[in-house]
Subunit: 336 residues, 4 copies
Amino acid sequence: MMIMMQPGASQQHISRIVARAESLRLPVQLSRKDGRTTIAVVLQGNDYLFEEFAGMDGVAEARPISNPYKLTSREFQPNDSVVSFNGTSVGGGKLVVIAGPCSVESREQIIETAQAVKEAGADALRGGAYKPRTSPYSFQGLGEEGLEYMAEARELTGLPIVTEVMAPETMPIVSKYADVLQIGARNMQNYALLHAAGESHKPVLLKRGMSSTIKEWLMAAEYILSHGNRRVMLCERGIRTFETSTRNTTDINAVPVLKAQTHLPVIVDPSHSTGHWEYVAAIARAGVAAGADGLIVEVHTHPEVALSDGPQSLKPEKFATMVRQVRALGKALAVG
Amino acid sequence: MMIMMQPGASQQHISRIVARAESLRLPVQLSRKDGRTTIAVVLQGNDYLFEEFAGMDGVAEARPISNPYKLTSREFQPNDSVVSFNGTSVGGGKLVVIAGPCSVESREQIIETAQAVKEAGADALRGGAYKPRTSPYSFQGLGEEGLEYMAEARELTGLPIVTEVMAPETMPIVSKYADVLQIGARNMQNYALLHAAGESHKPVLLKRGMSSTIKEWLMAAEYILSHGNRRVMLCERGIRTFETSTRNTTDINAVPVLKAQTHLPVIVDPSHSTGHWEYVAAIARAGVAAGADGLIVEVHTHPEVALSDGPQSLKPEKFATMVRQVRALGKALAVG
Amino acid sequence: MMIMMQPGASQQHISRIVARAESLRLPVQLSRKDGRTTIAVVLQGNDYLFEEFAGMDGVAEARPISNPYKLTSREFQPNDSVVSFNGTSVGGGKLVVIAGPCSVESREQIIETAQAVKEAGADALRGGAYKPRTSPYSFQGLGEEGLEYMAEARELTGLPIVTEVMAPETMPIVSKYADVLQIGARNMQNYALLHAAGESHKPVLLKRGMSSTIKEWLMAAEYILSHGNRRVMLCERGIRTFETSTRNTTDINAVPVLKAQTHLPVIVDPSHSTGHWEYVAAIARAGVAAGADGLIVEVHTHPEVALSDGPQSLKPEKFATMVRQVRALGKALAVG
Amino acid sequence: MMIMMQPGASQQHISRIVARAESLRLPVQLSRKDGRTTIAVVLQGNDYLFEEFAGMDGVAEARPISNPYKLTSREFQPNDSVVSFNGTSVGGGKLVVIAGPCSVESREQIIETAQAVKEAGADALRGGAYKPRTSPYSFQGLGEEGLEYMAEARELTGLPIVTEVMAPETMPIVSKYADVLQIGARNMQNYALLHAAGESHKPVLLKRGMSSTIKEWLMAAEYILSHGNRRVMLCERGIRTFETSTRNTTDINAVPVLKAQTHLPVIVDPSHSTGHWEYVAAIARAGVAAGADGLIVEVHTHPEVALSDGPQSLKPEKFATMVRQVRALGKALAVG
């Protein structure tokens, strides 16, 4: 519920409401605009509490939060969230570029790639150790061995690591190594996994389901936030449409829509959303121009022999050019 | 791989190949046509075995299985699979009707509904105890309590029960009660769950993902079959399209496509695929006319107060009419 | 607007309202239910007339027609429309089967096919003389020559002919030969063509646009009806979705939705909606079971050499089997 | 067909081939790379000419054009087309901004808007006099009166005018006033109209059909080019998908895909592709960043009373900000 305080409401009035919410373990958020305070409280289904809060001293007006997602909404929290990990911050104005291979294939591969993307200007390293694959007979990832190689690459380059967690069972092992937990498109509505991510202390990169509406995506984020973890980033990775000339259709509209609806940072994945390396730089630029806070890009030193996603992986030189372009754009936008 | 034996191949030749496959724990399937034997063997990624099998005595010709799904394909197994549980058989020619509420809401509700659908001619009872809900604040199901009520309803009516399992963690508890494990649309590519279902000894009703292609669906089934469980039924529950006058778009084409591609039984869910009770009977009839082996239909004794899916639930009387219609159609088709 | 008359309203009251509407050249429709008369009048944008009609003697109540399509709605006309041509009636309870090749390719081909489909039980002959083709370099149809061959086939077999009109310019020449004017999916929102069809005196078969919603489709029909032609049939021919295993996705839900929303007859085209001859019979049966008034099916005596749509054309024998199946289904449904 | 000349082929050899193509009225295009000449000739279905050309003196190698669209392909013409009208050039490197209301509603409105967009930096004026409307009862445009007002606005501001032509019948009247003929999304496969546009001498802005693939769109352009008009611009205006938070989904991927496949200029319409004015600037920036040659944007001085598309129209001040942003981006990209 949104509680608008009277213009002259005292700090004590405000504190009492906040304290009451906290004693009930309800999420609460303060904001101030034009000298008036608004207190957002998520009732989490306990709708009978509405009257109690509405009747407290200093309250001018109260109404329900209008969206079905609460904690996730910009209504609840008007200011942008900034998600930080290992010295990197997403959502704070500086464009963040995450790069690396689809899968960790070997120690050499991930270390070589980490050094190449670091040099090209990346801020974080991506790479999958547990891979969701359409076929049970395809390469399923190196598992913990892959995580160890990523940790080694982090040590050498200083890049924080982003890697996918596929099941609640592997949450502890993935959390041991990862700086950011990625939840993949196929798992966007795997509620047991969202629940586990909500109880984790790691930032989460939540990919949009292949055919999920923006509203469903924000509801999936709400599962994580409502279980206690507010460090969530949303990643647009293309949606499924009738068009077949690209692997998916980048829903570029989602960027400004999310910016209007939620305070969470927005990341664009131009690799999965196009499926062809030659379109990646154009869509990376478009994502930044539309207002994204970051990019996550597949880079492989030898795409032609990649065990997965070779056709959509940039070589390091092309990636370096892309980084220069998006940094230049970012500057032009900051001025404009 | 598909191994076509020579016309005069001896039983011994055949047995040796089967024994070799079994010693390697590879799935194997025999079929005979026009006096010749074909042996299908799924190599499960061990492609180097191809030459060994192709070179064995009595082999006329060998080629890979042409589909990416192997065990699931009609190529591997030309004859229809029949999935049986508690005296009910799906895929054996008789139309099977599964009915019941979306969620188990109370002991009285599920028992009353079970008796009503039994009387109306249903063959099995559906009902969810663990519910995947878009919002973390919605009713999430009664859990084990709900399963106990279903078991009681089974005892009273004799109807086997079909209920959803949402996570590997709850597989043991759901398996303790269920006759058929349902895997929901949102979990169609939850590989940890598919893996667990593959190791279970219960039949599985695998719903199609909201935006999954038929090929992806068959690959998801392959995960279950390749982990040891061949008792899988496929359930078309509507796909997501641009049309908004119904909740989903029933992909009726999927019925004959599946019948051509796979030996697994096909069930149509006219409730989720339309979202409006007034269209359910028409789509149930269409599903049967297109060749489905069964239907799964939401029935609620008081849809107006249902905790979920009220608008698409039939009242028992309407359901009884629908059953009469589809049984009459089934007869007309059997004659034709 | 919907004008509900008082229970005791006299025939004179009713006649005055009807006469007033007719003097304004507004479409008007009477219906009676439970002894009360309702008069539907389409104001055609002249909303200021609402008050005048509402204030006339004998009127109990008046309200706008709730749908954006008026003449097309079941609200305006509660009873099913029956569209008749050359002794054939669509919408009157008997299932109508229209069959023939995609394109008229030669005199021999169309005559041979007409005789074959007649013998197999078809009620009308389809065939295109003007063909909308994706490529400017593909065969564009025989034009008037093709129409002449169709007329000859009609003379020989007695089958009325259904053929496509692509542009207002060719409306006169196509109307000279056709019994039913087909408007193709690509032209569903070609308003100049809809306007011309509305001024024509021929029945119209209006195909659904590849990605048109049911509402847009009914609005397209409204263009024809509002320009004076009420003899419109709606043809579901599959919609564009993400699924690629069939050419289009048959929106079988559209059949009961249309039956609820409009009084116009509904035809299903299982050939375009699947794109593969082996799925045509299953979808034809599904269409009938869902409540369609008719089918339009591509039949070719030599599909392997067809100039267009060969893969989705049935040979006459397969077509004959399909007709037997759908007639049997029709009977079973009539009883049920 | 693509004719690769020998390295030492003489000018005479080249001229003879070109002359032969021209004598047959076949489209022909020369290009040079690494000192070798390639001659592209579109056979327009006369495949028997292949051998003749392949056998001419100086030819090293010949092969068919690999795409189904020929004149439209980058294979046929490697260099970007520049489409010029009234002193404005699209495709030549400078970003072109077309702006104006959805419909011409009155003389005052279009003149006031023309002056406002001119001042804000627009290069051309858009406005519809003939409007394709879903409902036959909606405002259908002012017709020729609207065109006259647009011509007056052109005279006052110097802005060339872009306006829609809906039917071959109105081609002469629209051509009399328009600088650029717009073909709308609903008419993208209206072949009679494409044919007429091909015979026109005006540049054409061809909007993508709501659910047309890029390939179908290029084939529609091929209809225009193959009938003699090479001055075609392609306008991405959003596609229909399952997402409903925006009116359409901008297919931003289409920009780099088109740049790879065709030499024709690409325009992005952020107004129709989002349907909400608050997202227009973000998508305009994204379009430019992805490589578009121009933008077409709906601007209305009083969106709240617009007869059509009010919610997606920018007010002039917002439009001016958008123009500043995209010009700044354009500069940053040119440097990068």
